[in-house]
């Protein structure tokens, strides 16, 4: 039939075409290329790398290769995954030593040219469960310790907020909790400061709450003490590995550090505090930033 915009009269029913087959025959993208997946296998007791020769399909990602290995070579190879579209943050691991989502890393982009090897290992900052799977439960415990969104008493949705008000929060809320930033952060990875430092993911979380136009809770005391904001020395590795391209250091950690510095070290505010010495809540935590000080607690 002739096809062209406007060729058919507006009310004409679709041409009664009987499909030849009930399914679309897709190009499977088969190639004659092969890569060697060097996959770490083991558990908390130890392990080693195993090599698997994997036939390459066009555009194949490392997670596809892992699935091929499971279906054809090692049925019990453990790997966490869900959406396979870079939206859930489950398939975090390290590819050639670099933290990455397996579902977004194309095999051909990471195959070493000299030996066609791709090294896949679990995240190093977390305890091993099995093969590529690590125990990330600590992150969920940290999240419980952060005070949730808290609007002012009596402030009820629907709220009036403009796009300009939420631009930064929007960026921070893109986080898919893949924990690659936690994995790469040297404070957690090398210095094992986990209990004293919440890590980049939760600096982003804290920032998203602190910068929410309708949130009134004060999380700066927690940032200063328990969350260990001062331990971050802004090497920006977290920003580099973030699959959502959140500018973790620039748009979350540094603004938080500024807020804290502003409160603690602003000379005018220090003078004000000296002139009006007040007992401080929580053993020395200073008062809220720009707000007028209320009656002293207790």
């Amino acid at each position: 039939m002739t096809a062209g915009p406007g060729a058919a009269p507006p009310q004409a029913p679709p041409a009664p075409e009987q499909p030849q087959s009930l399914r679309i025959a897709y190009d499977e993208g088969v190639t004659d290329r092969v890569a060697t997946l060097r996959v770490w296998r083991g558990d908390a007791g130890g392990g080693d790398f195993c090599d698997f020769e994997v036939p390459i399909q066009e555009g194949m990602v490392v997670l596809d290769a892992i699935h091929w290995i499971q279906a054809n070579r090692a049925p019990d190879l453990a790997c966490r995954w869900n959406c396979k579209a870079g939206k859930c943050g489950s398939c975090s691991a390290e590819v050639n030593g670099r933290p990455a989502l397996l579902c977004k890393t194309r095999v051909e982009a990471v195959t070493r040219p000299h030996d066609r090897v791709v090294v896949v290992e679990p995240m190093q900052a977390f305890p091993i469960v099995r093969d590529l799977v690590t125990d990330v439960s600590w992150n969920y415990e940290v999240n419980r310790r952060i005070q949730p969104f808290t609007p002012a008493a009596g402030e009820t949705a629907p709220f009036v907020m403009t796009e300009a008000d939420i631009t930064r929060v929007e960026e921070q809320r893109r986080c898919i909790e893949c924990f690659l930033c936690q994995d790469v952060c040297h404070v957690l990875r090398e210095h094992r400061a986990a209990p004293r430092f919440f890590g980049p993911r939760f600096m982003v979380r804290l920032a998203s709450l602190e910068m929410h136009p309708k949130d009134v809770a004060d999380r700066l005391p927690q940032l200063r003490a328990e969350a260990g904001l001062g331990l971050c020395n802004i090497t920006k590795c977290c920003t580099e590995v973030c699959p959502e391209h959140i500018r973790i250091t620039d748009n979350a950690i540094i603004p938080l550090k500024e807020r804290l510095a502003d409160r603690d070290f602003d000379p005018l505010r220090a003078l004000w505090r000296r002139l009006r010495p007040l007992p401080m809540a929580g053993g020395g935590a200073p008062h809220r930033g720009a707000e007028p000080e209320g009656p002293a607690p207790r």
């Binding site: 096809a3 058919a8 507006p10 190009d27 190879l77 870079g86 609007p151 949705a157 939420i166």
Partner: protein, 599 residues
Amino acid sequence: MSLELDTDVLVIGAGGAGMRAAIAAAEAGCRVVVACKSLLGKAHTVMAEGGIAAALGNVDVEDSWQTHFGDTMRGGGMLNNWRMVELFCREVIDRVIELEQWGAVFSRTARGSISQRAFGAHSWRRLAHIGDRTGLELIRTCQDKLVHTQGITLLMETTLTRLLRDRDRVAGACGYQRDTGTLVLVRARSVVMATGGWGRMYRITSNSWEGTGDGAAMAYQAGAELKDMEFVQFHPTGMIWPPGARGLLVTEAVRGEGGLLRNREGERFMVRYDPIKRELSSRDVVARSIFKEVQAGRGSPHGGVFLDITHRGAQAIRRALPSMVEQFESLAGVDITKEAMEVAPTIHYTMGGINVEAETAATTVPGLFAAGEAAAGLHGANRLGGNSLGDILVFGKRAGEAAAADARELARVPAPSRRQAEAEWRLLREPLERADGESPYGLHRELQEAMQSGAAIARTETSLRETLATILQLQERAARMAVAGGPAYNPAFSTARDVRFMLTVSEAIVRAGVERRESRGSQWRLDHPDRDPELGTVNLVARCGAGEMAVQPVPLPPLPAALRRLTEGETRVAGTALADAADAQARGRPRSPSGGVPS
């Protein structure tokens, strides 16, 4: 060794529906256990992109729950449970505002209220959204609410595989923990099934490994009814190239934002199939139209059609569709601000599921409730885009409240016999003890091929019967599966159980597909291309009895006259203006012969 827990309400699944149910039950004063197969916050809800449909009237003030009602009923081929649709359209408005109260951040209008976008077969701009990651916002908001609600115990990476009964009542469930293989037994006064849908039995799917129909199969085995199982939604636009990305969702928001569908010849073919709603026709219509274009030889190089949004300009595209930009960039090497996308239908959603009562989400089995994609009724024969995120909130809350009330009213603490759990654990571990046998991956692959060939977008009596024969054979072979290694984080071990669930659910899909000898909603029968008015008055319901699965017609409850009036007339067009303008402009210029993308 096993982990044993006692609770008031057990919620199986922690997507939006499960979390909302758990929050509601805990707020009603119950102890709640939530078990989910993955980590918290990774459920399918996270993949919902376009938005949540609610007649807030922020952008189009003319919108109302009544119009939403009419759109949803017409979109569902009038097979929807009208009372569910009514409750949904009224209450979803409050559920959206509640999310904002809990800290969700939606895109805004110029006046500072929640912005709403156009979507397929919605009469007005109705979808509250945040760019194209609305599901992530919803799941994160519910997740934060959940972990800060008292009385909830969370079991992550815990797969429950059988409902336990105490006489006629559901009284808990059992299964295993994924990381260790530890067996789990949860005794509960009531159970909410919020396990989502099933798409993993198809080759081309946007579903993760979790979408295996556990909840529907478990409920069916416990005596609940499965309704409308023939209706499986093909999202019109899934990625098709490269093969690894095949099936991944391309959000309907691309069309809502003005995206044009074109065939190889550059023709805007939707004008031919639905001259009024065009690209924003309902999903069943757009999916079929794309399929027909491809089968008629007018497809794109890799077997789909072109979806073009370039006319909106890079800045607007990056703002409205950031995750689509990222997805195509990283997986296909395509810059969607400059090039058209190649798309084709992908299995996306299941309208059918566990038959529930509208007000309480109660199933036909005492003590068992179901909400979200696992339940049937709201969407009828075809779901409108944007109606699933509202579904999980409205009916998740209702299910949680009803399960809590039911648990409190129960005089006797249910005591399911341990024997039931032990029988299930034997079934789970059996493949580990077999040295040689069928591969669970192999059986899964064969099932996918059979379902894709015979029970997918286009169906015939012959294709369905052939698929059924294959399923019955696979069910026999599934008794001989063998798995190497132990139960601790062993994907073959979990696949072995998943295959059994998928075989049960696939059988229901195919048997219902055979019985519905008409084309309606997502069910497209080439041998019965038209609607049959008789079949328009019944739902098909599958029940587990002695012998084989029985599928029977059950009359629809009568639709009150006042509500019927809301379904009359046509769905109006919301927001094709951008696409129309781009198309008109393009017509004045020559087309490129292959791409259909005017440069």
